[in-house]
Amino acid sequence: MKKAEKKTYQKKNAKTPLFEKATLSKLEEKVRQQKDELRIRRGQLQQGVDREKIADLKIEEQREELLHVTRVGKLAEFVSSLAHEISQPLTAILSYAQVAQRMLAKGAGGREAELQEIMQFIISDDQRAAEVIRRLPSLLKKTKPAIEPLDISDLIHDTVTLISTHITVRNKVIKFELENNLPFIQGDRIQLQQVLWNLISNSLEAMEGNKDSHEILIVALRKNSNMIRVEVKDSGSGIAKNDIKKLFGHFFTTKPDGLGMGLSISRSIVEAHGGRLMAKNNSDRGATFYFTIPIKRKGVL
């Protein structure tokens, strides 16, 4: 055995000429250099990735900021309608309180029953105002997107409840065609509510001043095994041919006091959720805005 080993060793030595040795060490050196270079490159790449990550985070933050701003912007419209809703019971309460005060000043002897009734009115109007406040959504809160499994039908109903003052004051009604037992979707509740809100309030505005159109139809159905489709169908003025392409761009608006951000924000929200938002004119009249949203996959949180 020993002999054999030696033999091979000798053989190996003998078979490696000097010039090859030199080449080998050169090669080793080269590999080492390349390794070093690779390490530096990898470092640079990592830095690049980190920078990109930071940039992404920044964009995400800016998007959040923008969403917050527009949410509040939309809220400004809503606030005026809320102010109306709260000031109605306040008006009644103040009037009743002043009635009671005047009755007492005159000497309310024998009018206790009347006073009791007035107090009851004050209490119920106070409850009404409190109810309006309780319904105030968490819209003002600035939150990071919270992705969770959501029931689209609940989401639609909740949003419609929030916007119901807008609807009744304009003499409109909302009808629903929501498929039974729709699977959960995956998304951010507030952002998707904002999309629905924008679409419904656009529909309301498109129907403004049109006495014959009362109805908005909201449809939710299973489009295929991956997607749910939601439609908001109005009977308003429809979309002018030239406007269809521009509709989702920033700052496009047909409203005198509109910002032109609602639809572009809505589209970016839907796309961030992996769906698409589109619009078409109805065959009879009005327009339909519709979006798809992915169904929650099993086992995926």
């Binding site: 005026s80 102010a83 109306h84 709260i86 000031s87 109605q88 019971p89 306040l90 008006t91 009644a92 309460i93 103040l94 009037s95 009743y96 002043q98 009635v99 005047r102 009755m103 007035i118 009115f121 119920s124 109007d125 009404r128 009744t168 004051v169 304009r170 003499n171």
Partner: protein
């Protein structure tokens, strides 16, 4: 005129506001009728029945501005007082421009409303004497 109770008409789509303002104005010895819409008001009250109109702005169907315009266009001298939660700064200006006697922000103080009604009725008295 002084012995007779003066008429006040309130148009507001909110039932409880109507009831409360009516109860309050009755303590000031007015004869108060309330309506929940423009239509019910115009159906029930003709132009020649005098009386001040207390008008909400934010209503379904014909809103306060539209009602005021209808009254103004018909040549009626009926004094109109707007009451509203409207927060737009120009709402009061707009109210005066379209010929209303005044604009009060809700919730409305009873005495302020009554003072305004009295001013309106006096003006009305002068213009109907012509």
């Amino acid at each position: 005129m002084t012995s007779e109770k003066r008429n006040i008409y309130i148009v507001d789509d909110d039932e409880s506001v109507c009831r409360a303002l009516k109860t309050l104005l009755k303590t000031f010895d007015f004869d108060v009728k309330t309506f929940s819409s423009a239509k019910s008001f115009f159906d029930a009250v003709s132009d020649d029945e005098d009386g001040c109109l207390v008008l909400d702005i934010h209503m379904p169907g014909e809103d306060g501005w539209a009602i005021q315009k209808r009254i103004f266009d018909s040549g009626s001298q009926r004094p109109v007082i707007f009451i509203s939660a409207e927060q737009k700064e120009n709402a009061a200006d707009r109210a005066f421009k379209v010929g209303a006697v005044g604009f009060l922000q809700k919730p409305v103080n009873g005495q302020t409303l009554v003072d305004l009604i009295n001013v309106a009725s006096e003006n009305m008295g002068i213009s109907s004497d012509k």
